[in-house]
Every structure is written in structure tokens, then in C-alpha cells.
Amino acid sequence: MKKRIIIAVVAVVATVAATLILTTGRVPVLAEGFGIMESEVEFRNVYPGWSGSAPLTIICGQDRDRLFWVSAQAANERKLRDGYELFPVEHYSWIAIPRPQTGEWFEVEAGDHLRLTVTLTMPEWADYHGKETEVRIRVQEVNLEGLVQLAVESRWYIITAEEQSA
């Protein structure tokens, strides 16, 4: 009985901790380089006329300020989630990535982070039912001088609802 109570308490604490992390916006610190905080995002049962958003948190390492470019990119076909297909390029307009307030790129200071909200909207007219697709949201450092450029990607899975019968 005591053991069960302890397990239950641990579960509650874990749940609260997890919730706090996402709601209080605690972001890890990177000593060098950069990264993102959302490795995968799955939208399930998307239907025509629906719109929803997911966060994209860019973390800039403490070593220096950086410029970033954010875009939707095709996944490598060999790397798709099992059974999934590429999200069609012609539907990339469904994905709205915020633009920087000034300039072409997002600027993030050393040791800081930037929270963006990326929105998926399936148009009312879209005839795209019962699909399991993958697309990548890429964050690339804009390095104007280097040969080797670095980028990280969030794997987005977009699963559309089956067609509704009338």
C-alpha cells in the first residue's frame, strides 16, 4: 500500500514537472552551437478548415550571437517515419512560419533563445484525406563565410482525417 502511494506521488510529481517545463518556458542552455527544443511534432486528424499551431524554440549557444533562417523542407525519403509519405511541396503554403520583424533572418543573442509559433492551416477546399505525411521544419544558421553550414530539423508529422461521409 505504502509502495503504491509512493509510486503515485512520484507519478504526480513527474507530471507536474513535465507540465511546468512546457508552461514556464524553461529552456536548456547550450555552451556552444545551437539547437531546437522540439524534436517531433505530430498533428493528427487534421481536416479542411482546421488551423492549429506548435512551438519552435531556437536555442543559441553561449559562444556567440547567431542569425537563423527557418523554412519547411522535404524530408529525405529514406528517413521518413515508417509508412509515411512526403508532405507535398504544393501544400507547403499550409505551413505559416513567422517572419523576422526586421531583416531576412532571426537574430538570437548568445545564451538566449527565441520562441516561434508555426501554424498549420488546412484550407477548406483541400481534398487531401487519410494521408500520413512528414515534413521538416528546418532551422539553419546563416553563416556567410563558412564552407560548412549547420542546420537542425524538427520532424513534423501531418496526418489528415479520413473523409467524412455526408
Binding site: A31, S39, N45, Y47, I59, L150, A151, R155
Partner: protein, 180 residues
Amino acid sequence: MTQLKRTALSLVLAVALVVAFTAPALGANPTVSITVTAEVVAITNTQATWGIGTVAVDAVVYFSATGAQDDDYSQIENTGSVAVDVEIQGTNIEGGDYDWTLAAAAGSETYSLYANKQATPTVYDVEVKSSTYVDIATNLAASGTNDWSMKFTAPTGFNAADDGNEKSATVTLVASKYVA
């Protein structure tokens, strides 16, 4: 790093947090769910620049401080909290009067670029392409590293009018969560 690990551990607790959105009251519309997996995807790479210098026809130059073969010249580190795949893509070399196309084998106005993998460091068999990404490291664990380099082969011929012109290209390393 310790703070990252601590935070990463906490983030594991948040994995697969499901935020359910109730669809607008449209009757037949289904409920849409958005699942965000909170794991940090991050990498670093130690060497970013490569001044190849003046090259002759058919020249072979390695990504290193001297141009000689140095199999572990650069190092990718997974600084995130989750295992990643790292892929590589190149571009044509642009500038001057003629661009050089990236291809599997050097040719006229065409160059090739191959990378090595840590598992077989002396074998440069990762063909860097401009059309797609190819693996340079797979399932690279958090805090794991991967040494790498590249082998450049200059065109077998190029127009003399292009002599002395400066050209440039980029190579992009992309990391994403490893999924078995």
C-alpha cells in the same frame, strides 16, 4: 553541459505531451491532437572553413589544415538530448566565368566531393550530392562525436578563361532526431 543534461532529463518527462484541441462545433469534424516531443536537437562542428587555394586540373585536396589527408580533421558533436542522424549536402562551386558542377566523378567543369565516416575513417565513400542529403552519421547518441573529413577532386578540365577566378561552395550538415 551538466545543466543541459539535467534539463534534458526533465524534458524526457515531458515527452509526448499531448495537447488536445477540440474542434470547432461543426458536428462531424474530428478532434485534432497536436503532440509535441520536447527533446533538444543540437549539434556542433569544429571546422567550418576550407581555403582550398589554387587548384590544378585533377588535383585532389583533403579537408584539412594542409590539404593532405586528415581523417579526423573535423568533429561533429551531438550537444542535444536525443540521438540524431546527421546528413550532408553540397552545392556546385560558383564564381568566375564557369561554375563547377558537383557530381559523382570529376569531369570537365565538374568536381567531386566525398566524405568519410568515423566507422571507416580512411575510406571516403560518402558521395556528397547537391540533389539530396546523405548520411554522414546515424544514431549519434547525445554527447556522442563523429570525426570526419572530405576529399575534393578538381575538374579534369576547365576553360582557361577561368584561370585565377575565385569560386566558392557550401556544405550543409543537417541533424534530426534518429528514428529507428
